[in-house]
C-alpha cells in the first residue's frame, strides 16, 4: 500500500522525517519497502500483511504510527455506532433490502442530487496519483480518496439507472451474465453476491460496479454505497473471475462494519464540497446484526513466559490503550477494526511488537537430550555425492517438472499440473534423464566437449489413483570423442559406486529393456531378483550419451553390514589364458564355465583383454583371462598350479570350442 507522508502528518503528530518513520514502521511489523518522492511529499510503499486489512488506509497506518510512538490516536474518534435501521428514503425514492444477511453484514446508502461531474481539484487528483490511483472525475475520485483515508470501499451509482429506486443485495437464482465497469462481460452464479435493482444486477458486491449504472458526464443524482460484505464471499468471487480491485482487496482482508455509516457521511461531505452545490439526503442504513466487540482473555504472565522476558503490567496496559484495546480484569475488549485479534497469542504479539522485538533477550533452550535421527538414505546420499564428485561428476539441480514432450520417451502418462507456468513446465518428471539431457545441450552450446553430471531427487508417478514419489540417482556421461564415455565407463561407475555405498552382490542383466536405451548396450542393475536401476547407452534417437539411473531408495537402503573375513596368508599364483572363441560367447559364459570347472584353488578369474582383428578370424575374438590360484592352508607348488591350470584350459576348450592362443 502506498502511503502519503504528508497525509499521515495531517492525521497524527510526527516528529522527524519519512526515513525515520519508515524505520519505526518496519520494526513494528509494517515493512516499508521503499520511499519515493512525489512533489513535496514522500510516498512510503508499506507492505501490509494479510492479517491487517485495517491498515489498508491512512487512518489505519496513522493509528499504528501513534501506537509506535506511544500515544493514543485522537485524530479520528471511535466510529459512530448508532444503528439506524432505516430502510428507505421517500424523495427521491430509494429502498434497500439485504436478502442474503450472511454475505452482507451492513449496507449504507445515500442519495446526493445536484451533482456536477467535473475533474477533481488538484489536491485530490495529485494525492490519488501519489497513491497509485488514476483520477477519473470528482465523484469517483472522492470515493477513492475516502477509501484511502478510511479503508472503507465505496461505490457510486447513477441514480437514473437504478431501476425502481430499489437496491437488493442478493445472489442470482441461476447463472447470469453481467458487464462490469471495465467493459468485460462475466458469468456469475448462485455463489456470487450481487447488488441488484428492480431489473437485475448493477454491481458485483465488493468487487466492481456495473457498466449499466456507472457515473457519466451528465450524471446529476448519485447513489453512494458504503457496505460490509463477507470477506470469503468477496474473495471467492474475485478469485473465480480473476478480478481483483482496490475494493475486493480490502473486503477480503476484513472491513470494519461499524465504520460504514461514519465513512459514508464523510464521503458525502467531501462530495458536497467538491462537486458543486448539492443536496444531501438522509442515510439508509441496514445493519441486521451489529458486530460485537471481541473479548479475549489475557495475562501478563502468559505473555512474559511465551516471550521469555519481563514486561511490566503498566507498559502492557499502555500498549493496549494506544491500540484502542481496553484491558481490565484479565480480559481485553478488541475494537471492531482489529478482526485479527481473537486469541491470547495474538495479543502477545501486539505487546511484543510495541515493546520491541529487539528487547527480547537471546537465550538457548534447555532440553532433554534424545538421539538424532536422519532419513535412512542420508549416509548413502552423502557417500554417493562424494564418490561421484571425486570421479569427475558435477551435481545438477533441475526442476521437478518439464515438458511432456521431453518426457514422452520415458513415460506416457506422467502426473501433470493443471495451472503450469507454461506447457514446458507442466509434467512432473518420471525420470531424471530428460533434465540431464537438457543440461548437456546447454553445456555443449557453451563449448564443453566432455563432462559428467548427476542428480539426486524424487520423481513422480501415478500408481492407481495416488501419486508416488521415488528418490532417484541419475547420471549422464557425455563426450564428443566416443571413447571416454562408452558403455563400460558407465557400467564401471555404477559398479564402483554401489560397492562404495556397501552393495557388493550386484548383477548386471543383459539389456535394460527400456525403449529409451540402446537395446544391445544397456543393462538392468539387479540385486538378487530386484531391479535397482539401469545403465548403458541412450537410444541414438534420443541422444548421444551414456546414462545411469538408480532407484535410490532401494539402493541406498540395501547396503550390507560389513564383517571381517580372514586374510589369505599364503601367496596366490597367477596364470593367464587367452581363448579364441566365437563372437557370440560372452564373458559371463566363460565365467560360468570356469565356475563349473569347480576348482577348489581358483580364487578368482577376470578378463583383462579382448581383441578382434589381425590374426583373429572373422566372427571370432580373443579374450584373455587372469586366473588366480591359492590355498588357504599352505603355499601352492608350481606343479600343483600347472596341473590345475592345464585341467582348466582343456575344460574351457572342450566346453566352449575355444582355441588357445
Amino acid at each position: 500500500m502506498l502511503v502519503s507522508f504528508n497525509w499521515l502528518k495531517e492525521l497524527v503528530d510526527i516528529k522527524g522525517g519519512a526515513e525515520a518513520l519508515a524505520e519505526k514502521l518496519t520494526m513494528s511489523g509494517f515493512e516499508v519497502e521503499s520511499i519515493s518522492k512525489s512533489g513535496d511529499d514522500s510516498i512510503l510503499d508499506v507492505n501490509v500483511t494479510p492479517n491487517r486489512g485495517d491498515c489498508l488506509s491512512h487512518i489505519g497506518i496513522a493509528r499504528e504510527v501513534a501506537a509506535v510512538v506511544g500515544k493514543k490516536f485522537e485524530a479520528c474518534p471511535e466510529q459512530d455506532r448508532r444503528v439506524r435501521r432505516q430502510t428507505n428514503i421517500s424523495e427521491p425514492k430509494l429502498d434497500v433490502e439485504i436478502r442474503d444477511k450472511k454475505r452482507c453484514l451492513r449496507y449504507c446508502a445515500m442519495i446526493i442530487s445536484g451533482v456536477k461531474i467535473a475533474p477533481s481539484p488538484a489536491w485530490i487528483s495529485s494525492r490519488l496519483a501519489s497513491c497509485g490511483i488514476q483520477s477519473i472525475n470528482n465523484v469517483v475520485d472522492a470515493t477513492n480518496y475516502m477509501m484511502l483515508l478510511t479503508g472503507q470501499p465505496f461505490h457510486a451509482f447513477d441514480y437514473r439507472y437504478i431501476r425502481g429506486g430499489k437496491i437488493i443485495v442478493t445472489t442470482p437464482p441461476s447463472e447470469t451474465s453481467f458487464t462490469t465497469l471495465d467493459g468485460v462481460t462475466r458469468k456469475l452464479s448462485e455463489e456470487d453476491l450481487l447488488i441488484c435493482d428492480a431489473g437485475g444486477p448493477v454491481a458485483i458486491a465488493g468487487v466492481m460496479g456495473g457498466a449499466n449504472s456507472e457515473i457519466r458526464g451528465d450524471t446529476v443524482t448519485i447513489v453512494l454505497e458504503s457496505a460490509c460484505f463477507n470477506p470469503i464471499t468477496v474473495r471467492k468471487t474475485s478469485k473465480k473471475l480473476g478480478l481483483s480491485s482496490e475494493s475486493s482487496k480490502r473486503f477480503e482482508r476484513g472491513v470494519d462494519a461499524d465504520g460504514s455509516a461514519d465513512s459514508i457521511k464523510k464521503l458525502a461531505d467531501l462530495i458536497t464540497k467538491i462537486a458543486g452545490s448539492v443536496k444531501s439526503q438522509d442515510l439508509v442504513d441496514i445493519y441486521p446484526r451489529p458486530v460485537k466487540k471481541a473479548k479475549v482473555k489475557f495475562s501478563v504472565n502468559y505473555a512474559n513466559s511465551l516471550l521469555g522476558m519481563v514486561i511490566k503490567p503498566q507498559n502492557v496496559k499502555n500498549y493496549f490503550r494506544y491500540l484502542g484495546i481496553s484491558y481490565s480484569r484479565g480480559v481485553c475488549t478488541i475494537p471492531t477494526w482489529r478482526q485479527d485479534l481473537t486469541r491470547p497469542a495474538d495479543l502477545v504479539e501486539e505487546v511484543a511488537r510495541l515493546h520491541g522485538y529487539d528487547k527480547i533477550p537471546l537465550t538457548l533452550p534447555a532440553f532433554t537430550m534424545s538421539g538424532l535421527s536422519r532419513p535412512t538414505h542420508s549416509i548413502a546420499d552423502e557417500a554417493a555425492r562424494k564418490f561421484l564428485a571425486a570421479h569427475g561428476f558435477y551435481e545438477a539441480v533441475n526442476y521437478g517438472f518439464c515438458s511432456p514432450l521431453e518426457l514422452a520417451p520415458f513415460s506416457k502418462e506422467p502426473v501433470t499440473i493443471s495451472n503450469p507456468l507454461g506447457v514446458e513446465f507442466s509434467a512432473m518428471k518420471t525420470s531424471l534423464i530428460p533434465g540431464l539431457i537438457n543440461n548437456i545441450k546447454l553445456n555443449v552450446n557453451f563449448g564443453q566437449d566432455s563432462f559428467k553430471l548427476f542428480e539426486l531427487r524424487p520423481v513422480f508417478s501415478m500408481q492407481g489413483a495416488s501419486v508416488i514419489e521415488k528418490k532417484m540417482l541419475g547420471g549422464i556421461m557425455y563426450s564428443e570423442k566416443s571413447e571416454p564415455a562408452d558403455f563400460y565407463d558407465v557400467k564401471g561407475v555404477c559398479a564402483a559406486l554401489l560397492e562404495f555405498i556397501g552393495l557388493t552382490c550386484v548383477g548386471f542383466s543383459k539389456s535394460a529393456g527400456r525403449e529409451f536405451m540402446h537395446p544391445n548396450a544397456s543393462c538392468k542393475i539387479m540385486r538378487g531378483e530386484k531391479e535397482i536401476g539401469i545403465c548403458g547407452i541412450l537410444h541414438p534417437s534420443i541422444g548421444k550419451a551414456s546414462i545411469f539411473e538408480l532407484n535410490w531408495e532401494e539402493a541406498a537402503n540395501a547396503g550390507e553390514t560389513r564383517k571381517f573375513k580372514a586374510l589369505e596368508r599364503f601367496p596366490s599364483v597367477r596364470r593367464d589364458v587367452a581363448l579364441m572363441v566365437s563372437d557370440d560367447i560372452l564373458s559371463e559364459d566363460i565365467q560360468n564355465v570356469i565356475a563349473k570347472f569347480g576348482s577348489r584353488i581358483i580364487k578368482n578369474a577376470a578378463p583383462f583383454d579382448v581383441y578382434k582383428g589381425k590374426g583373429i578370424p572373422e566372427g571370432k575374438k580373443s579374450i584373455a583371462y587372469a586366473v588366480m590360484y591359492s590355498n588357504s592352508d599352505r603355499t601352492l607348488t608350481d606343479e600343483e598350479v600347472n596341473k590345475e591350470h592345464a585341467g582348466l584350459v582343456s575344460f574351457l576348450k572342450n566346453k566352449l570350442g575355444a582355441e588357445i592362443r
Binding site: 511484543a352 537471546l362 551435481e395 489413483a465
Partner: protein, 360 residues
C-alpha cells in the same frame, strides 16, 4: 677340524672375491644363493656339523656361525653399496615439475545448493536437531488448512500454488482431507511439521529440507526452490529461545561480523511471527557509498521467517497448546547460497552450466 678351518678360510676368501663383483641386485641374489642359500657353501658346512665327533661340534659350530655372520655382514654391506648407488642414480633424474599432474579423474563438484544445505544441516544437527523429509506432492490439508490457512484465506495469496490434474477416478491419498481433495505441489516445507507432529509426541526438534514450488519466475524467484523448515516444541519454549537459536545459526553460517535483527511479521502458522534480517553482506549495513544495490540501501537483508507455533497448528495435530510451546522457522536455501556465494540471478542454479558448478 683343521680341514674344517681350511674350508672356512677358503669360503671366506671366495666370498671376499665374489663380493667385489656384485654390481646389481641380481648379482647379490646369486651371491646369497651361493653361500647361504639352500645348497650354499655355508649351509653345506652347517649340515656337515652332524658328522663330526660330538666333542668337536661346539667349537666347529661356533666357527661356522662366525663365518655365516661374516657372510651376512658382507651381504648387507653390499646391499648398502647398491642402495646408495641406486639412490645416486635416481637423484640424477631430471623431470619438468611444471608440467600438469596426472589423476584418474579430475574431481567434479556437488551442487552449490547442496553444499549450502549440508552446511545448514550440520549447524542444526550440531544444535541437536534431527532431519526429516516429507513429500513434494501434498494435499491442501497439509499445505494450508492444518497450518491455519483455511480455504479462501487471503494469506494464500502469499504463496501462489501449482495444482495437480486429478486423474479419473479421483485421487485417494491417505490422511486428513484425503479423498478427492486437491493435490498440489507444496508451496513450503511447513507441511512436514504437521506430518511429524501427527506422528511424534513432544519434544520435537527437527529440520525439514526439501524442494518447494510457487507460480513465480524472475531474477530472484524460481518456480521451484529449496527450503529448510525447522521446528522445536517442548515444555516452556520461549521466543527468546527462538532468537537465541537462530542468531546462533546466522553467526555460524555468516560469521560474527554482521548484525542480526528480528522484526514483527505475519505467517498464519506462527504467532507472534518475525522476520530475521541480517546486515547486508555487500555493504556491511552501511547502506551507501556507493549506494548498495543488494540491500537497496536499507542496510539489511531478509534471511528467514520464524515465529512461535500458532495455537491453531497445535490444535490441528492434537498437541495441547496450554502445555507445550514451540518455535518454527523457514529459510530459502537459494537465498542463503546467493548471499554467501555472491550470486545475483537465481536461475543460474538450475542451468547446471559446468563453468558455474566448477566454481564452488
Amino acid at each position: 677340524m683343521n680341514d674344517l678351518l681350511n674350508q672356512i678360510a677358503s669360503i671366506e676368501a671366495d666370498a671376499d672375491r665374489e663380493l667385489g663383483k656384485i654390481k646389481s641386485g641380481e648379482d647379490l641374489k646369486l651371491f646369497r644363493a651361493r653361500f647361504i642359500g639352500k645348497s650354499g657353501a655355508v649351509t653345506k658346512l652347517l649340515k656337515m656339523l652332524g658328522t663330526l665327533p660330538p666333542p668337536e661340534r661346539p667349537a666347529a659350530g661356533k666357527k661356522i656361525n662366525e663365518l655365516k655372520d661374516n657372510v651376512l655382514n658382507k651381504i648387507s654391506e653390499a646391499e648398502g653399496g647398491l642402495m646408495s648407488a641406486e639412490v645416486g642414480n635416481v637423484l640424477q633424474e631430471k623431470i619438468d615439475v611444471t608440467l600438469p599432474g596426472r589423476v584418474s579423474a579430475w574431481p567434479g563438484r556437488t551442487h552449490p545448493l547442496n553444499q549450502t544445505l549440508k552446511k545448514i544441516e550440520d549447524i542444526f544437527t550440531g544444535l541437536g536437531f534431527s532431519i526429516y523429509e516429507g513429500p513434494e506432492v501434498e494435499t491442501d490439508y497439509y499445505n494450508f488448512q492444518a497450518l491455519n490457512m483455511p480455504k479462501d484465506h487471503p494469506a494464500r495469496d502469499m504463496q501462489d500454488t501449482f495444482y495437480i490434474n486429478p486423474p479419473s477416478p479421483p485421487f485417494s491419498k491417505g490422511g486428513k482431507g484425503g479423498l478427492g481433495c486437491d493435490l498440489l505441489l507444496r508451496t513450503h516445507t511447513s507441511p512436514v511439521q504437521i506430518h511429524v507432529m501427527e506422528k511424534l509426541k513432544p519434544p520435537v526438534r527437527m529440520i525439514f529440507p526439501g524442494a518447494v514450488y510457487r507460480r513465480d519466475a524472475d531474477v530472484t524467484h524460481s518456480p521451484m526452490f529449496n527450503q529448510v523448515e525447522g521446528l522445536m516444541v517442548d515444555k516452556g519454549i520461549r521466543m527468546s529461545d527462538l532468537k537465541g537459536v537462530l542468531t546462533e545459526f546466522v553467526r555460524e553460517m555468516f560469521g560474527e561480523r554482521l548484525g542480526v535483527r528480528f522484526r514483527p511479521s505475519f505467517f498464519p502458522f506462527t504467532e507472534p511471527s518475525a522476520e530475521l534480517d541480517m546486515q547486508c553482506v555487500a555493504c556491511g549495513g552501511k547502506k551507501s557509498s556507493p549506494p548498495c544495490r543488494l540491500c537497496k540501501e536499507t542496510g539489511w537483508m531478509e534471511i528467514l521467517g520464524c515465529g512461535m507455533v500458532d495455537p491453531n497448528v497445535f490444535d490441528a495435530v492434537g498437541y495441547d497448546h496450554k502445555k507445550v510451546s514451540g518455535f518454527a522457522f523457514g529459510m530459502g536455501v537459494e537465498r542463503i547460497a546467493m548471499l554467501k556465494l555472491g550470486i545475483s540471478d537465481i536461475r543460474m542454479f538450475y542451468e547446471n552450466d559446468v563453468r558455474f558448478l566448477k566454481q564452488f
